[in-house]
Symmetry: C2
Subunit: 372 residues, 2 copies
Amino acid sequence: MTDAVLDDEDAVAVHHAHAVWSCLTEPGDGVAGTLIGEMGPVDALRAAFEGGGPTSPSLDAGRRRWRARLESIDDAFDRARRVGARLLVPGSLSWPTALDDLGVHAPRALWARGGPEPLGVEASLALVGARAATGYGEHVTMELASRLAQRGVSIVSGGAYGIDGMAHRACLSAGGVTVAVLAGGVDRAYPAGHADLLARIAAGPGVVVAEVPCGTPPTKWRFLQRNRLIAALSRATVVVEAGWRSGSLNTAGHAAALGRPLGAVPGPVTSAASAGCHRLLREYDARCITSPDDACELLGADAAAPEASSGRTDDRTRVLDALSARSPRAADDVARRAGFDPDEVRGLLALLELEGRARRGPGGWRRASPAQ
Amino acid sequence: MTDAVLDDEDAVAVHHAHAVWSCLTEPGDGVAGTLIGEMGPVDALRAAFEGGGPTSPSLDAGRRRWRARLESIDDAFDRARRVGARLLVPGSLSWPTALDDLGVHAPRALWARGGPEPLGVEASLALVGARAATGYGEHVTMELASRLAQRGVSIVSGGAYGIDGMAHRACLSAGGVTVAVLAGGVDRAYPAGHADLLARIAAGPGVVVAEVPCGTPPTKWRFLQRNRLIAALSRATVVVEAGWRSGSLNTAGHAAALGRPLGAVPGPVTSAASAGCHRLLREYDARCITSPDDACELLGADAAAPEASSGRTDDRTRVLDALSARSPRAADDVARRAGFDPDEVRGLLALLELEGRARRGPGGWRRASPAQ
């Protein structure tokens, strides 16, 4: 419940206000998002409940629905404390800035079980798909997740049965970093059959996150909203198997709307479990993904896209500055020189390798070409 | 060996000259193509063999290679007569004008067993793929070929084992029109195991064609050149199964180069027989084809493309003129009114239906909207 970078009273108030807003709002509440964007979370809370603030029909409706949840806050905080969930808030160092692309529909906060570092990994791939996966789909998911994990790519998914579960599991087995994004509170395992898996993710180098506070059950709406988080937290999204109306197509739609590269794994045209993937290839211009190399190429595609020229590129420049063209350096050494977390630097190095700007050798990492 | 529209001496000379050129040249001989394009086939023959014509290193090399084949002409004509092969030449009514898109690399002539009418069918789809097809590929091919045949689309393929053979067979079983394009002479069945199939195609409403004269064995080069004919004779090309380096990718490349729509059927990424199809989806921007409807859409896509506004569109206008918005008419009746062959008109009607300009009902065909 604390964030090391917030060390004065104002910061604590801001942090607390974000937490409160997270309890009061449903995911995607644009009215709250606009109000907080204009006034900051603390003043927005005052404006919402102390009177004298702006009025409008949508704000008044907002006040009514937020007020109805005021009493749930203590319970949510208690539950978070009991399971050791941490709160990540916008503007803090541990906040995944990729979420800011969601604008006023960005989450108010994230509740996390496990270290927040995996959320900052640059090379992150969403691997999602049908709960009713076939043996084929699970096999392909296992291949993709484990090979990408070995290359330092973090795997983001929704913790569900089928493709999601296989993606997390294969990533863990390969010693990789995985992120499970839940539609309900992180204090309850959903599905219940994945309680052990989610606990393993939270205990390992991975993280289990949700934007809804602890104690919140998942609903249809929250699943759909959760899907936008999966897309936003990932540099690219790949759908492995999906029925014609699968929820994974919703995740894919969010990825496309965010301008993030989208891929789909083809399958037999006779398999209903691949119909949604073929639809993505036909209607959404998804890239056809047949191998881990294809998925890496998809991640690299983003690096060339306009939005990659934002502040996030500077991180790569910092890592590049910490590399030598002649002497290979261990990732931990690079992390120290560049002032990054080792996990974070591994993701950045993987991206630089995809871009052909860094090379991995037996002795460690080197810059691919002489300094310019 | 005769063509009804050529009824004067000059026409006979032109016809004969095309036949001779067909015997003298290898497929794709651009030097001959340029010479014939400039002078016409009769004068080009004189220029090639009687002296006094233009000279250039490439023309002189051409003369040497053409001269080497002068003695083979009689034998080729004899063989054609024995199997009842007809000769189709550029500029004649039965010539498929779609081949003219090949420019100087268009064939000098086509040798045909079976009626030439199927070559003029507007709605024609090339269905090609690996010889080493899987059960999955054969199943999908059967579905596509039979459903499309039922909708009046002619199926063009290469007569090979695997996907090609299944495409021809399924089309025949559905009572459709199919075109087999061979790499060697039409007097010899290749592969020998398809002798019965090819004979059935030639005997039915279909046709077996080749640009090389009778007696010519197929070679690697002739297979590759044959592939350009399959692409050029079809409004669109769909590859069902193909290995990473399959010859079908060559056909696909020709289709793309000709600006014809290209489709590929996806399959399991774990199947080597689908690797070429996935390559087409990734590298050639092929459309993902999962059903007969998708293939029809691909055929329709061409209708909207610029090259469809050529003279071939006039045929559709003629058929549309022969339709009534109120009284349904049988296809044969429409053929009589529009002055087309019934087979030809069925293809045109299928295209108009795809474009939403004609409707098929229990009583026959109608124009989709009132006369403009």
